[in-house]
């Protein structure tokens, strides 16, 4: 796609408008950033802090986004109940975390305790995701694409209110782990330890997923099913099992994201907590190129950083009042812009007719 296409080809109002939009956006970003940076309102150390917080938030988005992308890659459906899969793990594990905190185990053996919590949350979310696939999606496989989409939305409500019934409507919070408190100082830059923990554990999980998909037998089967279900079946791959496995892997990642999120932002654990991260992670998956695994990781990190830095850098510089409240506006504007300018996402390739 060449920039300023209308000059060379036949004139088109659509291309013209899109190009004007493109110029305006770049101009807005440059002017806003220039105003903010030249005012010196926010110091370099503070920018680094914002960036680090954005990176941590982004790694949580990325972990959830992987669930969207894995399922889309294999079934070409958007599992809108995936935010609730995240909630299931996070909400269930808060009780385990409280118990571990009461007995003192959490602060005596913090790494072991966190590992235990991640495994537990992963298993809960995995179970929910597999049940979801078995009960809500498998019977509808082969029906028009709108049908599973609507079902996913219904399943999302069902899960929210089931968990409200199980654990109540109040807010819970993860206990704070002592070794994760405090900061690492480099000069006058202070990075909270918990943010480093979040980023590293997300990285480990993502590397694990990469290994699983690229280096194992089942990974090969997943790629084959994603490529062409019928041929994969002819090669003797049990498609139902592979699809269920994919849901399970996505669920496990979402559940672990729930615990990692609980370490990073301990408060606000309730039945509705999966909604916004779910939507954000979906945005991240589309940003990176839905169906593309490294794309989801990159999209998540990118979205987290843009959200953290965008309002202060661009919007405040343009003199927009209440810039911080527009954080979500930035996230979803990114989604719209990506859909206009690069529908395949950052790393996505154009989908073939059969997939699209």
């Amino acid at each position: 796609m060449s920039i300023f296409k209308w000059k060379t080809d036949e004139f088109s109002w659509v291309d013209f408008t899109i190009d004007v939009l493109r110029v305006l956006i770049v101009l807005g970003v440059v002017v806003g950033a220039w105003n903010t940076l030249s005012s010196g309102r926010i110091s370099f150390a503070q920018w680094v802090n914002l960036f680090a917080a954005g990176l941590s938030q982004g790694s949580i988005y990325a972990l959830i986004a992987l669930g969207y992308t894995l399922v889309y890659g294999i079934l070409l459906m958007i599992n809108f109940a995936h935010g609730e899969v995240f909630m299931a793990g996070a909400f269930s594990t808060v009780f385990l975390a409280e118990a571990l905190n009461r007995t003192g185990f959490l602060n005596e053996q913090p790494l072991l305790a966190i590992l235990l919590m991640i495994l537990f949350a992963g298993l809960v979310s995995m179970t929910v995701a597999i049940l979801l696939e078995r009960v809500a999606y498998r019977p509808l496989r082969g029906s028009p694409r709108l049908v599973p989409l609507i079902t996913a939305i219904g399943a999302s409500f069902f899960l929210q209110y089931t968990f409200r019934g199980l654990y109540g409507s109040g807010f819970k919070a993860y206990p704070q782990v002592k070794i994760l408190q405090g900061v690492i100082s480099i000069g006058d830059i202070n990075i909270p330890i918990v943010q480093i923990f979040v980023f590293c554990s997300a990285l480990i999980l993502m590397l694990g997923l990469y290994w699983l998909v690229e280096r194992t037998r089942i990974g090969k089967a997943m790629r084959a099913v994603s490529e062409n279900k019928e041929v994969a079946r002819l090669m003797g791959i049990d498609i139902d099992w592979v699809i269920m496995f994919t849901f399970g892997v996505g669920g496990f990642l979402a559940g672990s994201a729930g615990v990692i999120n609980g370490m990073f932002r301990p408060q606000g654990v309730n039945f509705f907590m999966g909604f916004i991260p779910g939507i954000k992670a979906f945005t991240a998956a589309v940003l990176g190129g839905i169906g593309n695994i490294p794309g989801a990781m990159l999209g998540g990190l990118f979205l987290g950083v843009i959200e953290a830095i965008g309002p202060n850098l661009v919007l405040a510089g343009l003199g927009i009042p209440g810039a911080n409240q527009l954080k979500d506006v930035i996230a979803f504007t990114m989604l719209v812009l990506v859909l206009i300018f690069r529908p395949q996402g950052i790393l996505g390739e154009r989908l073939s007719e059969q997939k699209a």
Binding site: Q46, Q267, D328
Partner: protein, 425 residues
């Protein structure tokens, strides 16, 4: 001539006395009447946040209503009292939907509600149009009793409240910040809800009036978990006090993340009754210690008796009220029931007739009512239409280690308006 005049005067008085509801057995009330057949109960409704994040407020208020009804053995004028419960979810749409269901039921004499100010803005146009009255025990947004639409007022006739107007609470926060904390610069944060925005605006303007400097006024969105962007911006503006009258869990995120934001580690955090719950301190953790809260404070023998009754009856299954507006709900319910008792008239066939306009007038006439929350007088000044509370049942609390680690509640009181240097003002 003189005799005729006297006769006319007597007639006028007679009509005047009986006219609000009845003349020859027909309803003469300007807004219509509620007719209660001989064996039917007297019906009142509640529109509260019974589900969602603010549901602990709803449970708190409902307990107050139930105890007020139990306090009369469930009877009024020889009839049973029936309570119809509606859920408003703490949102304008929820308040609107609940109000439509209530307005469709002509047997309902009056409403206790809503929990959240936003819900009241959705509900009041419908309640008012239906000729009903609504008494809120926890709406505190100033706009609800302000009848100047140009100044953001959203008052509708028929609205009353026993909760304090935020004009009192925001001003109190500002006075505390200036007089006790000796703060020179303040930053305020709201979350877009009329309640939180109203408080933040009032606090800032009173603080400004007391020669303080308002260095930042901003907002977060409900559902935000990452507050680093706004906190960084606040840190850059260098306030002494951050005033964040938002709800849980946003207040929990703000306070706990501020403790790790360079430049805000030692800044004093103040919040208001939107975060007034035992879980705030426990969920926020160590960072909550030292946070100041303005909130409802009720004391006295009558209140102790109320708490004893709560512990015995356990409305909603809790030993103690889950939040701070139960006493306001108790007073509000009693005011409503008293008003019904005062204006209801019994016809020959035993039907009770309650004039809706008469009911509103009876509420408007409440003066020096001795309630749990102090002396109540329903006011009419342009800013306080239907404000029955006088703002004395408020205090500043400080969260301590005991609230964070042991779950003790409520926190100790550190200040109230009687300690203010400008108490007379």
């Amino acid at each position: 001539m003189k005799r005729l005049f006297l006769l006319l005067a007597v007639l006028t008085m007679l009509i005047g006395l009986s006219a609000p509801a009845l003349a020859d057995g027909h309803c003469m009330d300007a807004l219509g009447c509620v007719e209660v057949a001989p064996d039917d109960p007297i019906v009142i409704a509640s529109i509260l946040a019974m589900s969602g994040p603010a549901s602990f407020y709803g449970a708190d208020t409902l307990g107050g209503i139930e105890l007020a009804i139990m306090g009369r053995d469930g009877m009024l004028l020889g009839r049973d009292i029936e309570l119809v419960e509606e859920d408003s979810f703490c949102a304008a749409e929820g308040g609107q939907a609940a109000a439509q269901r209530v307005a469709a039921d002509e047997s309902i004499a009056g409403v206790i509600g809503t929990t959240c100010s936003g819900a009241a803005q959705g509900a009041m146009p419908i309640i008012s149009e239906a000729g009903m009255l609504m008494i809120s025990s926890s709406n505190t947004s100033p706009s609800l009793t302000n009848d100047d639409a140009d100044a953001g007022g959203t008052y509708y006739p028929g609205y009353f409240r026993t909760a304090h107007n935020d004009l009192f609470q925001g001003a109190m926060g500002a006075q505390f910040a200036v007089e006790v904390l000796k703060a020179g610069k303040v930053a305020t944060i709201h979350d877009g809800d009329p309640y939180t925005e109203g408080l933040a605006v009032v606090m800032a303007s009173v603080f400004d009036g007391l020669n303080g400097e308002v260095v930042f006024q901003g907002a977060v969105s409900k559902g935000d978990t990452d507050m680093s962007a706004i906190l960084t911006e606040i840190a850059a503006s260098g306030p002494d006090v951050v005033y964040l009258p938002v709800f849980v869990p946003e207040s929990e995120f703000l306070v706990s993340q501020a403790a790790n934001t360079p430049g805000l580690e030692d800044t004093v955090m103040m919040t208001a009754d939107g975060s007034f719950s035992a879980t705030f301190a426990q969920n926020t953790g160590e960072a909550a210690a030292g946070v100041y809260m303005t909130g409802p404070h009720v004391s006295g023998d009558a209140y102790d008796a109320f708490l004893a009754m709560w512990a015995e009856e356990q409305p909603g299954g809790t030993d103690a009220p889950p939040s701070g507006f139960h006493a306001h709900a108790y007073d509000g319910t009693n005011l409503l029931l008293d008003a019904i008792e005062a204006v209801a008239e019994e016809m020959d066939d035993g039907t009770l007739v309650i004039g809706r306009q008469a009911l509103r007038e009876a509420m408007q006439a409440v003066e020096n009512y001795d309630g749990l929350t102090g002396t109540l007088t329903c006011q009419e000044a342009p800013l306080y239409n239907g404000d029955c509370a006088t703002g004395t049942a408020l205090a500043v609390f400080e969260i301590t280690e005991a609230q964070v680690n042991e779950g003790a509640w409520p926190p100790p009181i550190v200040w109230d308006l009687s300690m203010s240097m400008g108490a007379s003002g």
